[in-house]
Each structure stands twice: as structure tokens, then as C-alpha cells.
Amino acid sequence: MGGASVTDVSARPPARVPILLRIAQARGGTAGLILIGFWLTVFLLSLAWTPHDPFAFSLTQKLVAPSADFWLGTDRYGRDVLSRIMAGCREVMLISAGGTALALALGLIVGVTAGFYGRLYDEGMMRLMDILMAFPSLLLALLVVGVLGPGYFNVILVVGAVFAPRIARVARGAVLEVRQKEFVEAALARGDSAGNVMLVEILPNIVGPLGVEVGVRFAYAIFLSASLGFLGLGVQPPSPDWGLMVNEGRELVDVAPWISLAPACAIATLVVGVNLLSEACRRIWAGEA
């Protein structure tokens, strides 16, 4: 190191630990990885195979308790609950991922530009986001679904519309923090274009808080789409939507609790997995893990 003084000792670069290992080391990270891993496997499996046809009615096998043939029993139409859970896993993943992706895209556009440009544009945008967030999610979802009508793609749109404001807020907050840092000022002083600065300088630095928020939103998306399904306003029968399945089994809770219990447990484990993972990532980003 040339003429540098002896005291200017270079810090040994800390080993760049692979991200999965770091997550596993954080509290709850392993459990989260296991749960998510489990459901990802089910998802992939369901694309190719389910024990029975999730849509096949059966007049003879109605309301069968969990058994060797039907691991989670059958519902009132004789459909295999396990197969429906697996098929429903596909629905849940795609709808929630799609909705979250849409919310992320919209939220980023609004939030990053608002945080970067500031002033009136920022004020105006954030007021608008605040108004949208003043509506409890389900309420807003109800209104929008009331307009668009129920159905697969509409649920994705609803999820995207309802969660975009929150992502915008988080993105804006993160951008504001980074915006005032001097390396952004140095880039602006050099004359880098606004777009260049937002994409290259700022965006990589908001991945942390944004990633955590996306994880949380994904869990909420599952919530929201399942709740809409439960209320009959989401994916429509005969689709194996988990929320819908809980509703279908509600009256039969006395005689065939497995019809409602199975999808309820499925939702619970999936969401717990997502939450644990988000929490672990948040800890890592905050430097607590």
C-alpha cells in the first residue's frame, strides 16, 4: 500500500456469507425456510401430479374422514381434500405473487419518484397514498371487487391496487434516507441524470427495507385473497381456493371438520413461513442477526 502510514491498516474483508446461510442463522429463519420450502415443493409437485382429480365429484365418497385413500378426507361433493389443497396452493402462490408484483411495480414508480423529486409532487402523491391507506384493506378490496366483479384476475388487480400505496410509502421513506446521503449529491453534482441516479445509486440501497415490506405484503396478499375467497368475492367455485374451501366447510364443522381445518392450517403454515422469513431478513438488514 504505497506510502500509506502504518496505522492505516486495511480491515480484513469479512467473508461474504451466502444469504441462505445467514437467514438460517437468524432466529426463526430455519423454520421459515423449512415451511416455505415445503410449500414450494407442494407447488412444484402440484403442477405435475395430485393424488386425485381436484375437481372430480364422487357420489359414493362424500364426507369421508381422513383415511388411507384420502389422506385429508373428502368434502360434500366427494372431492379429495388433499388434492384440492395442492391445487389450491398453485392458486394462492400465483395470485399472491402476481398481486404483490403488481403492487411493487406501481408502488416503486410512485414512491421512488416522490422521494427523489420531493416538494409538491411528493406532498401530493403522499396525500393521495394516505387517503388510499385510510381505507382498511379489506374495505378497499370490497369496493374494488364490487366494481370489477369476482374472479381470478380481478383478485390480482385488487391486491395490486390495495397494496401499492403501502409499498409506495415504504419506498419513499427509504429513498428519502438515501437521497440525503452525500454519494447521491456527488452524483448529482457530476451531472448524472435523474433516472440514472434513481436506478443506479438509490435503488440498490433500498432493497433491504423494500424486500422486507414485499415479504410482509406477500403474506397480506395471501390473507386478502383468501378472505375474499371466503366471502365469495374472490376466485369462484369450483376453483380450489383455500378461503373458499373454508367457507364451503363451515356449516359442516360438526360432522366433517377436516374440510375447513385443512385449508385453514394450510394458510396458517404458509403465512407463518412467509412472516418468519420476512422477520429474519429484517433482522439481517438491521444488523441484529
Binding site: G2, A4, S10, A189, G191
Partner: protein, 547 residues
């Protein structure tokens, strides 16, 4: 009966480890020293040297992931190295206490400051409210707070940094402990306030006979308060002894470096070449900038950050603007760079007028200016490699051939560091990268906004030498913003002293330092020497709120 010959604090062969991500990391190794009644002992070292860990161990307040793996800490003869916090509780405040580093974070924001000091008194048995109030008053007077009654009723956010630190000192001394641990108590304060606080502490030491354990990284601060010094580095104590001896006859190479750095900083390097008669590179005339502050509750008030400032910078020479925080000097730097639009005045570079914001300036002019900021942690993008950081500053945002390597070599960095991320570099290395970035486009003027203030002393000296050599080699002019008179003397040719948005005085460094005309300049110079200014110079009382 306490034997007055027993040392208050005796640390023997102390070793402390931390557990970080399941790995055991040694922080302190075989450290030992003694502190007697009424004595001052300084623990000196750079960041990461382990001095704070030693202090925490002596206080019995090591964090949960730290363990004392060896040695003893004898407080009045009693070993507290492995004492639980519960066992330590009766000792805190009564036998030993602490003056913290950051007074802004050290006080409870939800409680009046008088009550916070009273809490210490109450904890040690005092119950009579009148006695408590009287004692709080007396303590505030002892730490030289003006209007103690009003201060006691205030909340922390109403008070200045200097006042808050005095309150912290008062609280620490409330029940007259035998040992006072001072953890870098002046680092977060302004230069003139620092001098005043140190003076107060010295006075208290003399009056109360309290022993001082003074943690610091700055050797210059030590000599006024502490007779003996221990130098720490990398968790070990490399040398200790009488302060005078160490200063004049340092043994260990590291101590020698520190001492050299101090004397280098305090020394004037010799003849300065008179300014050549050429057209100025940067011309600033009548610069003005007013901020209007205020939130929901305070009335909107206007702060004149810059009030009619004019100066020029000659090609290849350095103009320093020196002043304390709030003087407006950083605002001047930002206006020159186009990061802040001034309200009035003219800025011209080599005859071309510069637009108010950098966006409005043409590329050729923009390239001639560059800036190096104070804090390398926020001035380098943490997600970019060194190569990327420097490349983005080059024309076309791409490096041709070995441009990056050559720039790194010019700032005395090993070219292999190009693939590292900022968090994998030390403070000095990061700042060199920032300098390399500034020089990437070969500017004619570099603005240095407190560019050495965040660095350890020895690193500061090295960086200043680097800046000087770069200037000599490339003929770059510098606009150097600082609060440190020593640094200014080393680097600058001309200096402007700034206070409350105006220049008090401007002229060649030799002249201004030898024969300061303005009282504020005299006060700054005096503080830099560690003395309080005499009557002829204005003493800046820190009970005045800079509004």
C-alpha cells in the same frame, strides 16, 4: 477505613472477548494500569483500540455478549471484574460514575433535566424536596450553568450541546463518586465549547479530588487534564506513563507516530509562497442564502446562513474557510458546487458564470469542480465496488484501460482494493477513494468539506500530506472547509474566518494566525491551543443559544 494509599482503580492483566455471530473475538488483551485518588489517567487510542471496552469493564457494564476472560479490576481493592449488574448497582453513582460521549443522546427526552439529576440524589437516599432542589442548584452552579433555576425546569431539547454536557457532568458528580469515567466527553462538541468543558472538568477535579479515567482518541485534549497516559492499540496497551515523558520521549513506534502527528499538526511547515499575480480561478461575490425554519409549533424563523460573502480562489492554491458548526461554511461549499441554489450573488469559474444549480451548468464547467465530503461512510455508495465508484466519476462513466488503477495508485492505495466494497475498507482508505473519485475527471478546483474531520489523527496527517502532494503535482486549487485550526495551518495558503454567515477576517494564513485582527479569530486560535481566551479575546459562553 479507606487507606488513601490504595489506588481507586487498579486493572491487572485484563482480557475481554466478544461473541460475534457465534465466533469469539478478542477485544482487550492483558491490559493493566493504576489510578490513584485525585489523579487523571487517559486511555488513548484510535477507533477499535479497545479503550471503550476497558471503560465499560471498569464500570461493570459490559454488554451481554462480552466476557472477561482473564485478569482483575480492583475498585478500592474489591475485584469487580465478574460482578453482576445487580452487584454493581449500589456502586453506580456513589463510587463511580460516567460522563458520556454524546450529550444529545444521554438525557431522557421526556423528563426535565433538574428531575433527572434529582433522580440520582433520590436513589442515594435524599428525600427532602427542598434539599434536593438546593443541591441541584449548587451542582449546576458548580458546572457553570447560567440561570440554574430556569435550566432545571427545561427539557433537554431546549438546551444546547454544551449545556447538556454540563448537566451530564453535574449528574455524574451528584453524590460525589471517587472515580469519574469520561468517555470522549468533548468529541461531539464545538471547538470553543470543548475548551470550556475541559476547563470546567479540570476545576472540578481540583476541587473535589475525584479521580478521572479519560477515554479519548485525541492526544492534544489529554495533556491539560491527565498526568498519566496509557496508549492502546488493537486491544493491547502498547505504552503508558507520564504524559510529559510520552510526549517528549516516546518509546513505542505507535506512540512515536501519534506524537509526530500531533507536533506535525501543531507545526507550521515553513515558508509559504506569495500569491502569484494571476486571474482568480473561482470568484464568489455577494453570496447570500437564507433558510426559513420552523415546524408545526415554532414560528417560522429565517436563518441567514450566508450573509454577503465574497472571496476568490487562485489557481493551484488553497483557501480555507474556518468556523464552527452553524457558521455557514458548509452552505458556501454547497452553493459553489451547485447543490444548493443561493438567493443572490455571483459564482464564476475562470470567467464563466456558474448557474445556480449543477443541473443548469454545462458539462465542461461541471467537470472542473469536484467535492470531497466529510464522512466517507455516507459519501461512498455502500453497494458499489471501489472500481464502480471511481468509474462513474470518469468521463463517459466508464474506465478506459487502467485509469482506475492509476487513480488508486495516485492516492497511495493498493490497486487490488478496486474490487472491494466500502464496508471492507478502513476509514482512511475510504476517504482516499473519495479523493480518487474527486480527481477522476481532473478538476481544476476541489472543494473539501471537512474532509479530514472524521479521521483518526495519524490518518489525518497522512491524508493532508496526500492532498498537498496532489496539489503540487496537478496544480489543483482547493476550497477547504474546516473547523480545525491546526489542519488549516498545515494545508492552506489563505484563510477566511466565518461566523454567523459572515467573514470576520480573510487573508494569508501566516498573517491571520500571527496577528489575528478579529476577536472571534483570537478565540478560535486560543481554543485550538487548549487555552481559554483572555479578556481581549471574546470568550464564547455556551449559555447563549445560537438561534
Amino acid at each position: 477505613m479507606t487507606d488513601t494509599s490504595t489506588p481507586i482503580l487498579e486493572v491487572r492483566d485484563l482480557s475481554v472477548d466478544y461473541v460475534v455471530r457465534r465466533r469469539q473475538v478478542p477485544a482487550v488483551r492483558h491490559v493493566g494500569f493504576t489510578l490513584n485518588r485525585g489523579e487523571g489517567y487517559a486511555l488513548l487510542g484510535g477507533s477499535g483500540a479497545g479503550k471503550s471496552t476497558v471503560a465499560l469493564a471498569c464500570l461493570g457494564y459490559l454488554p451481554g455478549n462480552a466476557t472477561v476472560t482473564g485478569g482483575q479490576i480492583l475498585l478500592r481493592g474489591r475485584d469487580i471484574a465478574h460482578a453482576t449488574r445487580q452487584a454493581m448497582q449500589p456502586l453506580w453513582g456513589a463510587d463511580l460514575s460516567i460522563v458520556p460521549q454524546d450529550p444529545h443522546a444521554a438525557l431522557n427526552p421526556a423528563r426535565r433535566v433538574g428531575d433527572q439529576v434529582a433522580d440520582v440524589l433520590r436513589a442515594r437516599g435524599e428525600t427532602d424536596p427542598r434539599a434536593i432542589t438546593a443541591r441541584v442548584q449548587a451542582l449546576f452552579e458548580m458546572v457553570r450553568l447560567r440561570d440554574p433555576a430556569r435550566v432545571a425546569e427545561s427539557y433537554p431539547h431546549h438546551l444546547s450541546g454544551g449545556m447538556k454536557q454540563r448537566i451530564c457532568i453535574a449528574r455524574a458528580l451528584a453524590v460525589e463518586p471517587a472515580l469519574l469515567v469520561l468517555d470522549e466527553p468533548t468529541t461531539a462538541l464545538d471547538v470553543t465549547t470543548q475548551a470550556a468543558i475541559l476547563d470546567t472538568i479540570a476545576d472540578i477535579r481540583d476541587r473535589l479530588g475525584v479521580a478521572l479515567l479519560f477515554i479519548t482518541h485525541d492526544l492534544r485534549v489529554v495533556t491539560t487534564l491527565c498526568r498519566r497516559v496509557g496508549i492502546m492499540r488493537g486491544g493491547e496497551m502498547v505504552e503508558q506513563g507520564d504524559a510529559d515523558d510520552l510526549l517528549h520521549r516516546p518509546q513505542h513506534p505507535f506512540t512515536r507516530q501519534l506524537v509526530d502527528a500531533v507536533s506535525l499538526m501543531g507545526r507550521d511547515d515553513g515558508a509559504r509562497v506569495a500569491a502569484p499575480a494571476v486571474a482568480p480561478l473561482l470568484t464568489v461575490a455577494g453570496l447570500r442564502k437564507t433558510f426559513s425554519l420552523g415546524g408545526l409549533f415554532r414560528a417560522r424563523r429565517k436563518v441567514k446562513a450566508i450573509d454577503d460573502v465574497s472571496f476568490t480562489v487562485t489557481p493551484g492554491r488553497t483557501l480555507a474557510i474556518v468556523g464552527e458548526s452553524g457558521s455557514g461554511k458548509s452552505t458556501v461549499a454547497r452553493c459553489v458546487m451547485g447543490l444548493l441554489a443561493p438567493d443572490g450573488g455571483r459564482i464564476a469559474l475562470g470567467g464563466d458564470d456558474l448557474a445556480a444549480t449543477s443541473a443548469g451548468r454545462n458539462r465542461r464547467l461541471r467537470r472542473q469542480l469536484a467535492i470531497v465530503f466529510q464522512n466517507p461512510d455516507s459519501s461512498l455508495n455502500p453497494r458499489h465496488t471501489v472500481r464502480r465508484i471511481i468509474s462513474r466519476a470518469l468521463p463517459g462513466q466508464r474506465a478506459a484501460g487502467d485509469q482506475v488503477e492509476r487513480l488508486l495508485a495516485a492516492v497511495h492505495l493498493d490497486p487490488s482494493l478496486a474490487e472491494r466494497l466500502p464496508r471492507e475498507l478502513s476509514g482512511g482508505q475510504k476517504q482516499r477513494v473519495a479523493i480518487a473519485r474527486a480527481f477522476a475527471a481532473d478538476p481544476r478546483l476541489v472543494v473539501l468539506d471537512e474532509a479530514t474531520s472524521s479521521l483518526d489523527l495519524t490518518v489525518q496527517v497522512a491524508v493532508l500530506e496526500l492532498l498537498k502532494s496532489l496539489q503540487a503535482a496537478r496544480g489543483t486549487a482547493y476550497l477547504f472547509i474546516s473547523h480545525d485550526m491546526h489542519v488549516v495551518r498545515r494545508l492552506a495558503d489563505d484563510v477566511a474566518v466565518m461566523q454567523h454567515g459572515r467573514f470576520c477576517e480573510i487573508g494569508p494564513v501566516d498573517q491571520v494566525f500571527a496577528r489575528p485582527a478579529h476577536p472571534y479569530t483570537r478565540a478560535l486560535l486560543a481554543s485550538a491551543e487548549g487555552r481559554m481566551a483572555d479578556e481581549a479575546g471574546a470568550v464564547i459562553p455556551d449559555t447563549v443559544e445560537l438561534s
